[in-house]
């Protein structure tokens, strides 16, 4: 959520973004936009856990990558259709998230992060050792096929709109989670576990459920990735991928709704279109990190939220309308 809930501005914004998404493939290279969706969805998944439940996972690449391999394998080797393949990938990724989550939620804070990290390293090791991932050679030439029997994904525009559709559905699912009683309970727990307990919630159960939901969305992103790019490799399960998603979320705004997608846009753009800068890209990325952490901890969307709130509050004060002064600061 980039702006206060249910305000008209929010609706306008989402409508504008939707329109932008519809027009984008006619202006920009569709693969580039799809990459933003895939990693944006991945970052949304991460943000669900970090921004709303306060749990920092350093191993989300494991779910993303496992799902990518699973979907890729199902499509390429078993000859399944992409829809079934995605379903299979999501199931496997979610299952893995269940296992990892069951261990990780036993501990909090930095220990939680380290356990997820360790388990992700184990997954990476297994992926490297297993013949069906192709090891360093990767899983190549996964061909897209027909989605739901009607959509021929080998046509770029069809692929784009299927990807866009899945992204929107997943994002709506995320919004639904956040606004459900479960989502509210999560935020209550994030603010104070003791208080949540006294309200009758069970933090371990809440955490576990959040972990699984987040893992599921990450897995969906991974499955989508392999369908879009027709390629899965060890870098999907590498810890750098887990680090990448943290960067995107931070850039866009931790705890905002659409923020991580903006983060994905910035990072993807840096990677794809500024790569001619060669080694300077890493230095630039490093500086962005530093500037973000020192100066813009709320991220792009978080900062916009605050700015917007200030404006509104100013206007509301002038008009003397107490209702609209209720400011909700996302990202804090």
């Amino acid at each position: 959520m980039i702006l206060p809930e249910k305000s008209r501005a929010t609706l306008y914004l989402y409508a504008a973004l939707f329109l932008l998404g519809v027009l984008a493939p006619f202006v920009v290279y569709p693969m580039f936009v799809m990459k933003i969706y895939v990693y944006g969805l991945f970052a949304v998944a991460f943000n669900l856990l970090f921004g709303f439940a306060g749990l920092l996972s350093f191993g989300h690449g494991a779910f993303f990558g496992t799902a990518a391999y699973a979907t890729g394998h199902a499509i390429k080797v078993w000859g399944l259709t992409p829809d079934v393949g995605i379903l299979f990938g999501v199931l496997l990724g979610t299952g893995l998230a269940g296992v990892v989550g069951a261990f990780a939620i036993q501990r909090a804070g930095i220990y939680f992060a380290m356990i997820t990290f360790a388990l992700a390293e184990v997954v990476h090791f297994i992926a490297m050792k297993m013949p069906l991932t192709g090891g360093e050679n990767g899983l190549t030439q996964v061909r897209r096929g027909m989605f739901l029997g009607v959509f021929d994904l080998s046509v770029p525009l069809v692929m784009y709109f299927v990807c866009f559709g899945i992204f929107i559905l997943a994002f709506l699912f995320f919004l639904r989670i956040i606004h459900s009683p479960f989502g509210l309970a999560l935020r209550a727990m994030k603010d104070g576990e003791d208080r949540a307990i006294s309200l009758g919630y069970s933090p371990p159960r809440l955490k576990f459920q959040a972990f699984i939901l987040s893992g599921m969305l990450a897995a969906l992103a991974g499955s989508l990735k392999v369908v879009v790019f027709e390629f899965a490799s060890l870098s999907d399960v590498h810890w750098m991928t887990s680090g990448h998603v943290i960067l995107m979320t931070l850039l866009g705004g931790v705890g905002t709704y659409i923020g991580p997608v903006f983060g994905s846009l910035v990072v993807t753009f840096l990677e794809d279109y500024l790569s001619f800068l060669g080694q300077w890209v890493t230095i630039i990325t490093g500086c962005i990190f530093i500037v973000c952490v020192i100066g813009f901890r709320r991220g792009v969307c978080g900062e916009i939220n605050v700015l917007y709130d200030k404006l509104r509050r100013g206007r509301a004060a002038r008009q003397g309308d107490p209702d609209t002064t209720r400011a909700e600061q996302a990202g804090e």
Binding site: K35, N137, T140, S235, F262
Partner: protein, 398 residues
């Protein structure tokens, strides 16, 4: 919002700029900033630029442009760069490509979009076997040809028991299998192997195991920092001075010698597809390269030049940039430059050319900053490269 818009517009502008021109467009994809950027990386860019200049900057009356893509040593990025170039930016040929996963995906993308891939970095022998396509050529070394160079020379000297020290990666396993074939063909035997994780710190444990195996030769199958660490520590443990077992780094470039110093590497032997000081011709080109880059070229960088140059030559000769025609022309035309000697492109897409066994000079022998190797033996390409495999390569089947 404004930010997003500007970004989108900027990217669109870049995208459109790519499609608007009808010139010959070459993309150099490689590791410009990651772990292996010292092997090819920015140096390959200079090499490719030189190749374009040597063609006068144009072919068939069209200007040649060059775009650079950095994969940061991630397969993920390599594949998406290749796809974007072929699909959206009208790149005619991609040169370089250092990760085998990325290379395998790239050549299939080349076939799909009917463009050209000139793989000059990655060394997977799969590229001319199950992954051969009518749209690419594998320009330079592969795991088989490199592992063919060493065994014969070793067995002739009576060193016939081999123990591998191998990185636990597909590249390592592939090369180990190829080397085993070559060792057995040369009359040697393999007594064992030890696998190490990529990017390990300390190799002393593996060196001790190799020593304890009783082998007479230890081929070291890894690259970059791993190789440097292995050699450095083999020296520390006195294995290099003792001379038994003989340590043979299988991927060894000027950059590695630079990182280790001549004192620590003297008299090591390694396979190579090129050495700048091989003869006057290679020397002349390399001096020019050094003037611009500050260093002498590694074999990867020479391969990048040669691949680009011959691609452009083939376009000129074919009179078209149609991908399949160009590749066909490459397979029929004469290949000769400072890099590729006695060379031709085989039906399966492999550039076959002379391979070399090089020896690292001692500090006393070395006469200059990059005077590192001496070419000890030349192995003809037909002996070094694996025979064509009609069962695996679909090009050989009709």
């Amino acid at each position: 919002m404004k930010k997003l818009k500007t970004l989108l517009m900027a990217s669109a502008a870049i995208g459109l700029a790519g499609t608007a021109q009808a010139d010959i467009k070459i993309g150099l994809a490689g590791d410009m900033s990651g772990k292996q950027s010292a092997l090819a990386g920015p140096g390959s860019q200079v090499a490719v630029e030189m190749a374009i200049e040597d063609m006068g900057g144009e072919v068939l009356g069209e200007p040649i442009t060059l775009v650079i893509g950095d994969n940061q040593h991630k397969a993920e990025l390599e594949a998406s760069i290749a796809r974007r170039w072929y699909e959206d930016e009208d790149v005619d040929a991609i040169v370089g490509i250092n990760l085998s996963s990325g290379a395998i995906e790239t050549v299939h993308l080349a076939e799909r979009f009917d463009k050209v891939a000139m793989v000059s970095d990655a060394g997977s022998s799969r590229l001319v076997q199950e992954d051969c396509t009518p749209n690419h050529v594998h320009w330079g070394w592969n795991t088989y040809s490199f592992s063919a160079v060493v065994p014969k020379a070793m067995v002739e000297k009576g060193n016939d028991k081999f123990f591998f020290l191998t990185v636990d990666y597909t590249f390592g396993h592939d090369m180990m299998a190829d080397a085993t074939t070559n060792i057995e063909a040369a009359g040697g035997s393999v007594v064992g192997s030890v696998l190490h994780p990529l990017g390990a710190n300390d190799f002393s444990a593996y060196i001790l195991q190799a020593q304890a195996s009783g082998a007479s030769v230890v081929p070291v199958i890894n690259s970059g920092a791993d190789t440097v660490a292995t050699i450095k520590q083999a020296g520390e443990f006195g294995v290099l001075d003792a001379g038994t077992p003989v340590i043979v780094p299988m991927i060894f470039t000027l950059a590695d010698v630079e990182a280790l110093g001549l004192e620590a590497t003297k008299n090591l032997r390694a396979p190579s597809s090129f050495y700048w000081g091989r003869d006057d011709e290679s020397r002349a080109w390399s001096e020019k390269f050094k003037e611009r880059f500050g260093k002498m070229p590694t074999f990867f960088q020479a391969q990048a030049y040669s691949a680009t140059y011959h691609y452009l030559k083939a376009v000129e000769k074919a009179g078209t940039k149609d991908a399949k025609t160009v590749i066909k022309t490459l397979k029929s035309m004469e290949i000769d430059d400072f890099f590729a000697k006695n060379a031709y492109v085989r039906e399966d897409g492999q550039l076959v050319h002379d391979m070399y066994l090089v020896r690292v000079k001692t500090p006393e022998e070395s006469e200059g900053e990059f005077d590192f190797f001496e070419v000890e033996a030349t192995i003809s390409g037909d002996d070094a490269y694996q025979p064509m495999d009609p069962e695996a390569c679909k090009l050989l089947q009709d």
